[in-house]
């Protein structure tokens, strides 16, 4: 059984009832705040430190050899909760020596940044580690069309990330040595 206890407030003393000591102490606090270090960031000049694992604008990246990583498997398009990603699959041209072992590449890759919710599922699901949510957080445009990032823009945003696996090099080597897959 919970007993309700009514708390009795102590009656205010005379000096408390004038509120003047309290006002004075409040004034003291604000005055001392005048000289404290300012906590604001002067944004365009100073940038906030981006923590590890930050989910910024989703981008497409190339491997250290400058090759397109995406194989247009469309997993990201499938997993994307707001359906912001749209991929038009295409073939890798036959004469591309560098990627001769890859069958597919995106012909067009669009991420609609008006829909994107920066959840990072696409990065998580990508088997080729081709899509990354990087540190860029400031994105603006004058029209809706501008806010749809196409393939070129995505690669421009993404650049090249260091890749320790060199998966494709291995694949190529495997293929050449005759034991692909």
């Amino acid at each position: 059984m919970i007993k309700t206890v009514v708390m009795e407030r102590k009656p205010l003393s005379l000096s408390e009832r004038t509120y003047l000591p309290q006002i004075a102490s409040g004034l003291k606090t604000t005055f001392s705040n005048l000289f404290k270090k300012k906590v604001t960031l002067q944004y365009p000049e100073q940038r906030p430190a981006i923590p590890r694992g930050y989910r910024g604008v989703p981008t497409l990246v190339k491997d250290p050899n400058g090759r397109e990583k995406c194989v247009s498997c469309q997993l990201c398009e499938f997993v994307c909760p707001p359906k912001a990603i749209r991929i038009t699959p295409g073939h890798v041209p036959e004469d591309d020596e560098e990627r001769s072992h890859v069958e597919k590449a995106p012909e067009e890759f669009e991420i609609n940044m008006l829909r994107c919710i920066y959840c990072g599922y696409c990065e998580e699901v990508c088997p080729e580690e081709a899509i990354f949510l990087q540190e860029n957080y400031s994105l603006s445009g004058y029209s809706r069309e501008e806010m749809i990032n196409n393939k070129e823009e995505l690669y421009e945003l993404g650049g090249t990330l260091p890749d320790k696996h060199f998966k494709w090099d291995k694949k190529k080597a495997d293929e050449e040595s005759g034991n692909a897959h």
């Binding site: 409040g26 705040n33 005048l34 604001t40």
Partner: protein, 372 residues
């Protein structure tokens, strides 16, 4: 009309224009000071972006001025001018346009009797620097500033919508309540200055200031009067914790909710002009005006330099008081409306009466003691 009259008129008009522009620019910079001080108190930096192109080119001073936000009032004023002027369809047009003017004019009229310095010429003849040295200085100030409420009331009424209306109603009630306490709280000051045996007389602000030369400031003689007057001043200038007509948290924007662009700007400037004039009046009444320090003679020699220094000293005191206004605003929360009324009628008014009676008895006693 003869030439002399025209000359005098021209001179007076020039003085008036100069004074209005000075007070208005001080009001504009008070807005900046408000933003800056508020920012500093909240651990922010405040406006520090606006700059004129050729100023930013100056090596050290340029960035310094920019960080201080010196050019912000210019930008704000321009913004008010160039904004789209929206007049809601439901307002009473005539009063809607009239009320910003009604709000600004009294604020600027009170400065005519405000003395801000004195000039002693080569013959040793001293003239106070004031637009009109009216014998009734303080009464004139009260009379004109009591008209300032019409701007707010009319704005509230003509907007034809509920929040401005509430703001107007509150403001009219608050003004009447605190005017009484304000008048009663300065009476002891004039009683003291006009007491038998004192050198000065009359209700003029100049004589009040001169009574504090080489003598303690009146704030030291009558701290309680000064305190009551200050509280009433906060209420009369609609400053927090008494900003009932505006109270943006419960009344959206109060009386100026329906106003935009330059009309809002006029209200804004009028509010700060009230603060500037109020601080200046407090300075003349209680802080010795342009005189140096209590009990200390003015260190500057009479003459042009001396009077300039005096004016500077007066302005410095006024700025300190303006800072106090801002400081209080960013420290205290707003009173509830009924608390404001209760404070005005049930606390401030009786205290002012007690204060008055105390000084009546004191002055009478001193008078009798001097006579016997």
């Amino acid at each position: 009309m003869d030439i002399e009259l025209i000359q005098m008129l021209a001179l007076k008009v020039t003085y008036a224009v100069v004074m209005v522009s000075v007070v208005m620019s001080i009001a504009g910079y008070t807005v900046l000071a408000e933003r800056k001080v508020c920012a500093w108190m909240q651990g922010r930096v405040g406006p520090n972006r606006t700059v004129l192109p050729f100023v930013s080119a100056i090596p050290i001073i340029g960035p310094f001025l920019r960080n201080l936000g010196i050019f912000q009032p210019l930008a704000d004023g321009l913004k008010f001018l160039f904004k789209e002027e929206i007049v809601p369809g439901h307002v009473n047009k005539f009063y809607y346009y009239l009320s910003p003017i009604v709000a600004l004019v009294p604020a600027l009229t009170t400065m005519t009797v405000l003395p801000f310095g004195e000039f002693t010429n080569a013959e040793g003849h001293t003239t106070p620097l004031v637009l009109a040295n009216v014998d009734l200085g303080i009464l004139f100030v009260f009379a004109i500033s009591s008209l300032g409420v019409y701007g707010i009331v009319l704005a509230g009424w003509s907007s034809n919508s509920k929040y401005p209306f509430l703001g107007g109603i509150r403001s009219s009630a608050q003004m009447i309540s605190y005017e009484l306490a304000m008048g009663l709280s300065v009476l002891p000051v004039f009683l003291w200055v006009n007491a038998p045996g004192m050198t000065e007389s009359g209700l003029s602000l100049v004589s009040i200031v001169n009574s504090q030369e080489n003598a303690p400031w009146l704030v030291l003689i009558q701290p309680f009067s000064a305190f009551l007057f200050l509280i009433a001043l906060f209420a009369e200038t609609n400053r927090l914790p008494f900003d009932m007509p505006e109270s943006e948290t419960d009344l959206v924007g109060g009386f100026h909710t329906e106003y935009g662009s330059f009309k809002f700007g006029i209200f804004f400037v009028a509010e700060y002009a009230h603060v500037v004039i109020g601080s200046a009046i407090f300075t003349t009444l209680f802080l010795g005006g342009w005189h140096f320090l209590p009990w200390v003679a003015d260190p500057w020699a009479p003459g042009l330099i001396g009077s300039l220094l005096g004016v500077g000293w007066f302005l410095a005191k006024t700025f300190c008081l303006i800072f106090f206004f801002i400081w209080v605003r960013w420290t205290l929360p707003r009173f509830r409306y009924d608390q404001v009324m209760k404070l005005g009628w049930a606390k401030l008014l009786p205290l002012a009466l007690v204060n008055l009676i105390f000084y009546v008895i004191l002055v009478t006693y001193l008078d009798q003691a001097a006579a016997s």
